[in-house]
């Protein structure tokens, strides 16, 4: 799918505050979000910082999304555990899945293998995006976030969003 369709689906689910750290897989999405005057995209220096900003925005009444590479998920485990999971803060995580099946640079192999289990172990529901399911995947994640007041994640492999 095209980045603009993906972003429109997110906006349709009322997500309106985006903060993240860039990744090649997310490049197109970040470009579309940054050019959209109806919403806000903020670049953070690290992924935990992005989670802190998103939590503040949620407390201020916004519907936040955090974008990051899965290596950044490694940076974020402590922050996720003791902030949005502790206070029950609704938050969507869009995580690019580098190192999937080791078809990537070697620095991504370890995180590529453990990304899904890491999320599962800290109690965050994750769904992998495909060209066919993106509308349903975003709707499902939005429902989990709102009903349970928790973070939920969508994993994005290379080549799914152009």
């Amino acid at each position: 799918m095209r980045a603009v369709e993906f972003c429109n689906t997110l906006k349709h689910q009322r997500f309106n505050f985006f903060v993240g750290v860039p990744d090649t897989i997310l490049k197109g999405v970040i470009e579309v979000l940054s050019a959209d005057s109806e919403i806000r995209y903020i670049g953070a220096t690290r992924e935990e910082e992005a989670i802190g900003i998103a939590v503040g925005a949620s407390l201020g009444g916004q519907q936040p999304v955090v974008l990051m590479q899965n290596s950044g998920l490694g940076n974020s485990i402590g922050a996720l555990a003791s902030l949005p999971l502790l206070y029950k803060i609704p938050l969507l995580l869009l995580i690019s899945w580098r190192g999937y099946q080791r078809k990537d640079a070697p620095e991504h192999f370890v995180m590529g293998k453990c990304t899904v289990n890491l999320l599962k172990d800290i109690g965050i529901t994750a769904e992998t995006l495909t060209n066919r399911n993106y509308d349903e995947a975003i709707t499902r994640a939005a429902r989990i976030i709102q009903e349970r007041q928790v973070p939920a994640a969508i994993l994005i492999k290379e080549g799914v969003i152009s």
Binding site: I42, G52, V55, L59, P64, A79
Partner: protein, 199 residues
Amino acid sequence: MKGYDAIVRIMRALKGDELVVSANGMISRELFAVRDSPNNFYMLGSMGLASSIGLGLALALPDRKIVVLDGDGNLLMNMGSLATTGDLSPTNLVHVVLDNESYVSTGGQPTACRTVELEKVARSCGFKLSKKIKDAELLEANMGELLRTDGPAFVLVKVESFWKQAPRVSHKPEVIKRRFRDSVKTSVARQRRKCGARL
């Protein structure tokens, strides 16, 4: 000046409608002891992120003053937040750092702030105002002024490495969130009614 006295002075300078985010450890506990309020978001874990939560709030609620009560150990963990805040420059954010040059909650181990001058880092990152204060009277007077001025503002308060044994925050995390969110919602609704009346 002791950390507790600094918090007393700061809270005395506030009008009461400011939203306060406090760093984990002694700062949240002392704030809870000095003045518990639904307008306080006590950060219990996620060390380093008080400044980022404050930034998110400041961007989401441009008509509210946001005060972050941070610690030197906390800010050293998330110095990147100064860069992000300086770059975005929300005018409604006052970032106060109580600097005792140590990690008091965990036994008083020294931090790099015996060398690093955080107020200079903040200025270099683009904060509109940045001050270093050692005197309690001056702190109260300056806080009043900073709350009336467009920021982002940064205040480094040098405090003694000593804290009373304040009790832990007794509210459950979800309660802290719920009453904070309710307080924000109520004031947003009040603001809308006021604007409607003016039209």
